[in-house]
Symmetry: C2
Subunit: 228 residues, 2 copies
Amino acid sequence: MRAYTQVVEWVEGQILDGTLKVGDRLPAERDLATRLQVSRAGVREAMRTLAAQGVVRSGVGSGENAGTVVSAMPSEALTRVLRLHVALANFAMDDVVAARVMLERSSAGLAAAHASPEALAEIATPLASMTDEVDRLGFNDLDTAFHIAIAEAGGNRLVADMTIAIREAMRLPILRELEQLGDRWPDVRTRLTAEHRAIHDAIAAGQADRAAQLMEEHIHSSRRLLHP
Amino acid sequence: MRAYTQVVEWVEGQILDGTLKVGDRLPAERDLATRLQVSRAGVREAMRTLAAQGVVRSGVGSGENAGTVVSAMPSEALTRVLRLHVALANFAMDDVVAARVMLERSSAGLAAAHASPEALAEIATPLASMTDEVDRLGFNDLDTAFHIAIAEAGGNRLVADMTIAIREAMRLPILRELEQLGDRWPDVRTRLTAEHRAIHDAIAAGQADRAAQLMEEHIHSSRRLLHP
């Protein structure tokens, strides 16, 4: 096993068994190299990879906080990997749609039950900009923002992270489909905007079941509109 | 921006916009360094990180297949990151339970609708070993295997990947809870095994709604049993 792999697996094992927690300092490079009997260059390489993934970060200053500490992996680190995974893994499109329906039904229901006035405003803002003037690129960005705002409004961080990652992975494939619509584009924009509005209204009215049902219909309907 | 970050973001951008696909060769290290105006060491470092994440792999031999090629990110790369994310991100336990209920309801329903005889056997095997002789460590491994086999049997790779990652992230926290049960352990084992058997039977009978419902009750019930 390469030195690098050995170090990464050791750190991950310590995190998963709860020995290393967020904010804990890792052993010094020299000590870790001795403990695992690997080169210091291997330790450095492993730390760079773990830092790139948001698992550790370099501490600043000296004393207790110096050295490399375990970091609370930001949501972006997960959405980035999930987004790449969806882009590369060549999942069957039916499977991605089924996963979106499951996650976004849940997000829409949670948003109807829990959304704060501020979270509702975040959902309403992109919707208000989906006018007749907006082009495909602009519409796609507003569409992504609308679905992400609903995921955030639900208040379940883990569900939101998974929802956002899959929606972001769909941004470019959806844009490409919008570009192939030709003359049908204004009609599709009107239909999708009306569906978004109905979902927003159900969430604002606190109707969880209706919001979830409308979200499910919207995901299936947009797929039919984009693949007629 | 560091050379390394610039290279990683360039590769990811090319993948997300569909320019680079699985099996495509990346530009040579020297060409990439020139194009992005960064050092060759920066390119090498970025490639090592991307390789560690399963995004690229080194080609072998010479000619068309030599150099670094885009790789179909394996499921393990996603489950690994999601597992670490759940371990570090300190999600509220209620949120993790809600995400599990959503994912595993879906997996159980899909498994009832689609499981092949081989997939059913994979679900039955760990269940058959949950006897009175099994200890907490052994039970926890069988429990994990049972839930993973159901996710696999559903046949939706993306839902399975997310389900497995969260279940694996729970392996050690659940083991720690099993260890704290004291005298209640044999009773809890009997209860959980009976719930597993009912879920298996509903899946084997092709009862999707019942399998999903029993899975939801089981996830809530095990949480109550472990946090009385």
